[in-house]
Symmetry: C2
Subunit: 616 residues, 2 copies
C-alpha cells in the first residue's frame, strides 16, 4: 500500500511534469536536430534567454513537488492514525518494552523491581513478562526438532530422492528409530524442567515487556523518562510479537552503540570501496580465461554471434550481479546492528541500500574516478560541487535513459520470475531436503524502495536538464506499478504492519532528489553564464530546506509516537464494545518468547491463537 501510494504519486508527478517540460522547452527550440537531445540544457547556447524558460520550469517543478509531498505526507499521517485505530486490539498497543532494569536490592532479581515500579507509578498496570537467558533451552528445542525430523524422515525414506538419501545417510547414522523416540522424550522432559519458574528466576535478564489495561498509559509510559538515570528503566513502544527479534532485546546499550558504529563504518566502507573488488573480479573473470580453465565453455563459440555477446556482457553482468547482492548484504549488516524488530532492521537496510545506489550508480556513473576520490574532491573544494555536478549531469543523460530502460526492465522481469528466490529454494529443496517449508516471504522493501527512489532521483535531476528521460520513466513506473501490485497481492505475505513508518524515509529520499536537482541547476546556470538565474535558484533551495524542516515539526512526530488523543479514543471504543479485557489480557501472553512456548506442539499455535481468535 505504501509503495502503491508512492508510485502513484511519482507517476502523477512525472506525468504532469513531462508535458510541461515539453511545452516550455519546445517553442524556444528554433531548429530541431534529429537526435534525442532536442530540449536538453546542454544544447542551449551560453547566456541565452531560453535559460529563463528552464528556470521557470525548475520553479514550477520545485513548488509542485513540495505541494505533492505535503499532500502525501498529510494523507499518510491520516492513514497512519486510521491504521492505529484499525489495529487497536493488537497486543503492541497495550505493551511497552523496558530495558536496563536495575537489580532489586532485596531479592537480587529484576522481575520484582519492574512489578514494584510500574504498579506504583501507573494505575492501569497489568502484568509483566521478563526475558530469560535462553541459551540451553533453545539448543534443546533445536535438538528436539531435528530429532523429530529424523524420525519422520526415516518413516518416508522411500519417497526421497538421491541427494536427500545421501544427506540422510550422512546425518542420521546407525541409530534405530526407537532409541531416537526415547531420546526425543527425554529432551522434551528436560525442556519442561528448564521452563519451570524456579529454574528461570536465576536466569532473568534486565529486559521485560510490561502491559497496561489502557493504551493511554502505555503510550505515556513509553514516551516519558521513568528513572532518574535515563539509562535505566528505558521504555519504548513494544514491537509486534511476530516481528520481534528476541535475541537482540537483551543486548546492553554500550554494545548496541558499538554495533551501530561498526555497522555504520562497514556500510560506509562497502559503499566507498565497492568498485575495487568488482573491477578485480572483472579482471579475473574474462571469457578467454574461462575457456582455458573450463574447456566445455568453448561450446559457446559454436553458435555464431553468441561469443561476442558473452564477451561484451560479462563485465556488466558481474557488476549487476554484485549490485543484486548488495540489498541482502546490507540487510545482513543491519540485522547485526541489534534492532529489536524486523521492520526497523529493514528500514535501516533500506537507507543503507539507497545511499549505496546513490553513490555507486548515480554519482559514479556521472563522475569519473573512484568514489573515494570524489568524496575527497568535494571535501577539499566544497565550492565547486554545483558546477562539477552540472557539467557531469548534462553529459550523461543518454546513459541514464539506457540505464532506466535496461536495468529497470530486467529488474522487473527478475521480480516477476522470482529468479533468485526460485533458485535458492530449488537448491535448498534438492540438497538439504526441507521441501516441506512454505515458499512465502515478506515484501522486500529494502530492495524495492531504494531502487524506485533512485529512479525518482534520476527523473528529478533530469526533469529540467533533459526532459526526454521522463517518458521512459513514466513507462518504467507504469510497469513497476503493475508488477508490484501483482507481486504484493499474489506472491508476498504481509509479515508486519508498521502503520506507515516507511513514509518519512521515502519523503527524505524525494527531498534529497529535489535538493540535488536544485544544486545541479545552480551549477548549470553558472556554467551557462546566467548568474542571475543561478542566484535566483538559491532561494528555491532555501525554501525547500525550510519545507523539510516544517515537515519534521508538523508530521514526523505522529510517525514516531502515538498521540494521546488516539489512544484515548481507542480505549473509549473498547469500552463501548466491552472488549477491552479480552485484548489487554492477551497482550502479555502474546509476548512469550518462542523458547518459553509449550513443547510438543507447533511453536506458533499456542500463544498466537488466542490473539487471532480475538482479532477475528
Amino acid at each position: 500500500c505504501r509503495i502503491h501510494c508512492f508510485s502513484v504519486c511519482s507517476i502523477v508527478g512525472v506525468l504532469i511534469l513531462a508535458p510541461v517540460n515539453y511545452t516550455s522547452a519546445g517553442p524556444s527550440g528554433t531548429k530541431r536536430p534529429n537526435s534525442m537531445e532536442i530540449f536538453t540544457v546542454s544544447n542551449v547556447p551560453k547566456g541565452s534567454d531560453r535559460l529563463w524558460v528552464h528556470f521557470s520550469c525548475l520553479c514550477f517543478i520545485s513548488f509542485y513537488v513540495v505541494y505533492l509531498l505535503h499532500k502525501e505526507y498529510k494523507e499518510m499521517s491520516h492513514k497512519r492514525i486510521e491504521r492505529l485505530k484499525y489495529h487497536r486490539k493488537r497486543p503492541d498497543q497495550f505493551t511497552i518494552l523496558v530495558q536496563g532494569i536495575p537489580v532489586c536490592a532485596d531479592h537480587g532479581i529484576y522481575g520484582c523491581n519492574v512489578d514494584h515500579f510500574f504498579s506504583k507509578h501507573y494505575q492501569t498496570y497489568q502484568s509483566y513478562q521478563i526475558l530469560h537467558d535462553n541459551g540451553n533451552i533453545e539448543s534443546l528445542q533445536k535438538l528436539a526438532s531435528s530429532l523429530e525430523k529424523q524420525i519422520e524422515r526415516k518413516r518416508d525414506t522411500r519417497r526421497c530422492n538421491f541427494w536427500q538419501w545421501i544427506w540422510f545417510k550422512f546425518t542420521s547414522g546407525p541409530i534405530d528409530a526407537r532409541s531416537q523416540e526415547q531420546k526425543l522424550k527425554e529432551v522434551h522432559h528436560s525442556i519442561r524442567i528448564l521452563q519451570c519458574k524456579n529454574m528461570l528466576k536465576q536466569k532473568e535478564l534486565p529486559v521485560a515487556f510490561v502491559s497496561f489495561k489502557s493504551r493511554l498509559e502505555a503510550a505515556q509510559a513509553a514516551e516519558t523518562q521513568q528513572h532518574v538515570n535515563p539509562l535505566s528503566l528505558v521504555t519504548r513502544y513494544a514491537p509486534e510479537p511476530t516481528e520481534t527479534i528476541w535475541s537482540n532485546l537483551a543486548i546492553p546499550f554500550y554494545r548496541l552503540a558499538a554495533y551501530k558504529l561498526g555497522v555504520f563504518i562497514a556500510a560506509f566502507l562497502l559503499t566507498v570501496f565497492f568498485t575495487i573488488p568488482v573491477t578485480a573480479v572483472q579482471g579475473i573473470v574474462q571469457f578467454e580465461k574461462i575457456e582455458k580453465w573450463f574447456p566445455p565453455a568453448r561450446a559457446v563459440q559454436l553458435i555464431p554471434g553468441l561469443s561476442s555477446v558473452v564477451t561484451g556482457y560479462l563485465p556488466s553482468m558481474i557488476l549487476n550481479g554484485f549490485i543484486y547482492l548488495i540489498p541482502f548484504a546490507m540487510l545482513g549488516m543491519a540485522s547485526f546492528e541489534g534492532c529489536i524488530s524486523k521492520s526497523q532492521t529493514e528500514i535501516k537496510a533500506c537507507n543503507m541500500v539507497f545511499y549505496f545506489l546513490l553513490g555507486n550508480v548515480f554519482f559514479l556513473s556521472i563522475l569519473s574516478g573512484s568514489l573515494l576520490h570524489q568524496i575527497g574532491e568535494s571535501f577539499t573544494h566544497p565550492k565547486d560541487i554545483p558546477s562539477r555536478l552540472a557539467s557531469a549531469v548534462s553529459a550523461q543523460s543518454d546513459f541514464f535513459i539506457t540505464y532506466i530502460l535496461t536495468n529497470g526492465m530486467s529488474g522487473f522481469s527478475f521480480e516477476v520470475l522470482q529468479f533468485g528466490l526460485l533458485t535458492w529454494h530449488f537448491l535448498k529443496a534438492h540438497t538439504v531436503g526441507h521441501s516441506d517449508e512454505p515458499y512465502l516471504y515478506g515484501f522486500p522493501y529494502y530492495r524495492v524502495v531504494p531502487i524506485a527512489s533512485l529512479a525518482v532521483l534520476i527523473g528529478m535531476v533530469y526533469a529540467v536538464v533533459s526532459p526526454l528521460l521522463l517518458p521512459i520513466l513514466v513507462i518504467y513506473f507504469l510497469l513497476g506499478y503493475a508488477v508490484f501490485i501483482n507481486q504484493m497481492e499474489d506472491v508476498y505475505e504481509i509479515t508486519y504492519d508498521t502503520c506507515g513508518q516507511y513514509w518519512p524515509t521515502i519523503h527524505h529520499y524525494i527531498f534529497l532528489s529535489v535538493t540535488l536537482m536544485q544544486t545541479t541547476m545552480i551549477g548549470l546556470f553558472g556554467l551557462k553564464s546566467k548568474p542571475g538565474a543561478s542566484f535566483a535558484t538559491i532561494p528555491l533551495l532555501v525554501l525547500n530546506i525550510m519545507f523539510n524542516e516544517y515537515c519534521k515539526v508538523r508530521f514526523l512526530p505522529t510517525f514516531q509516537c502515538r498521540p494521546i488523543q488516539i489512544c484515548k479514543d481507542n480505549d473509549d471504543l473498547d469500552k463501548t464494545e466491552r472488549e477491552a479485557e479480552c485484548s489487554s489480557e492477551h497482550a502479555v501472553r502474546a509476548y512469550t518468547p518462542p523458547w518459553m512456548r509449550p513443547t510438543g506442539s507447533s511453536p506458533e499455535s499456542s500463544s498466537v491463537q488466542p490473539l487471532v481468535r480475538c482479532l477475528l
Copy 2:
C-alpha cells in the same frame, strides 16, 4: 551556585594541570632561556623526542578533563533532582503551558476546548487559565500608574531637584490635582470593566496554563503528543510565574520560526562583521580630531604623559567599550526571539555571546584578516584547519597572557565597582526621577558565563602549547571566585531558579575547548614533523566526541525533562505532609497575567502573596 561549582571545577582542574605541565615539560628543557617561552612547544626543535612528553601531557589533560566533566555532570544532575524536590511546592511543577489550542466548534472560543480535552484525558486535571488579548488593559494600567505617579509627585514637588522640576513641568502641564484623581478613578473603573469575564471571553488567545493535582500527570502531559496534529495542543513545562514573559506566550509558531531565523542571521552577521564598525569608529574618534571639535579636551595635554596614554589607549578603549556592550545587545536580540521565560532568553544570549567572543576575541586575535575571510578560508580548505590553527596559536601565547591579565582584572574591578549599572542608575535617577525603584538585578549569567568559559578555553588550548599561561589563569580564577561569590551573596538578587539548566551549556563550552585543544595539537605535531604523535591524537579526539555523545544520552535528558520517579516521590511526600491541596490549588492562581491582577494595589502582592505564604 552554578557559577560557583563551575569555577571551583575549573580552578581545581587548572591547579592540578599546572604543576603536571611543569614537571613534564621541565626536565626536558636542557637549556633555559630567560624569556617566558621556556616550555612552549614552539621552541621545541622539529622532530624532537621532547614532543612525546607534550603528547603524554595532552593525553593526561584530555582524560583528566573527561573525568572531571563526568564527575561534575553527575553531581549537577544529582543536584538538579535535589533542587526539584526542594522546589516541589512551586506552581510550575503542577502546571503545563498549552499552545496552539484549536477553536471549539460549538462555542467559537478556546477555553472550553482546553477544559474538555484535559478533563477527558487526565484524571487529576484541575483547572486552566487562558490568556487574553491584553492590548487595552495594559495601556490603561500604564496610564493609571503614570497618573498615580503624577499625583504623588505634585504632593512633594518641594523635595525634587532641578532636573526633576523641569521634567515635571514638561509632563504634567496645567492640570490640577483634583481632576487627575477623578481621571484615575475613571481609569480604574474601566480597567475593572475590561477585566470582567464576559468582556474577556471574546478576546481569548489560543494559549493556556493547565494545572493538575499531581506532578506526575503534569510531567506526562508536558512530554507527550496530545493531538493528532503535533502543532495543535502543544504542551510543555510551564515557566516559573515570576520569570514568564507574558507577551511572548501568544506568538504563533510560524512567526516564532521566522523570529528564530532572523535572530540567528542577525547574531551571525554581528559576529562576522563586528570589526568593520569598530575600525570605522576607531578611525573617526582619534585624539587629534577630538581636540579640534572639543577644545576643552586640550586640558589633557597640561598633565605631562597623560596625552600619550590617551592617544595609545583610545582605540583599545573603543574596542573594549564595544565588546562590553555586546552582552546587552545579544540579550536584546535573544528577547526578541520570543522565548517564554527569562532564563531561556538568558541561556540563548549566553550562547550567542560565547560564540561572539570565540570568534572576535580568540580567533581574530590568533589569525590575521577579517572573520569572514577566516570562515571562507576554512570552508574552502577544511584540511588545513589544524595546521593553520597550530601555527597561529603557538605565536600568540604572550598576547593571551596580557589579555587575561588586563582584560580579566579590569573586568573584575568593573564588576565589583558596578560601574555600568551605577552610571545607568545615576542617569536615570537624576533625569527621569524614578529614584524610588530598588537597585536590584538578577545575576548577569549571559555576561559572566561566556567570559569565564572563554578563559577556560584559552587555558585549555594553551595548557600544552605554553603552560606558563596557567599560573596567570589560576590567579584569574581565584580572584574571579572571590569576586563573584561576594557579588552573588551581597549584590545580586535571585530572580529565577532553573534547577541547573545552565550546566549542559557550560559542559558544551568545555567540550568545545577540549576539541579545539586537540585539533590544535594535531596541527602542531604535524608542523613539528611528528606524524606519529599527530595521528595518535586523532583517537583522543574521537574518544572526546564519543564521551560527549555519551553525556548527551546519560545526563542531558534529566536536564530537559522531569523523571516520573521524582514526580511520584514528590507527590507522595505531599500526601504524608497533607499539603498537596494547598500548593496545587494556588498553582493556577499564580499564573494570572499581570494585567489581570486586581487594580488599586501593587501588581505583585495580590497573586504572589498566597504562594509566598504557602512556601513559608
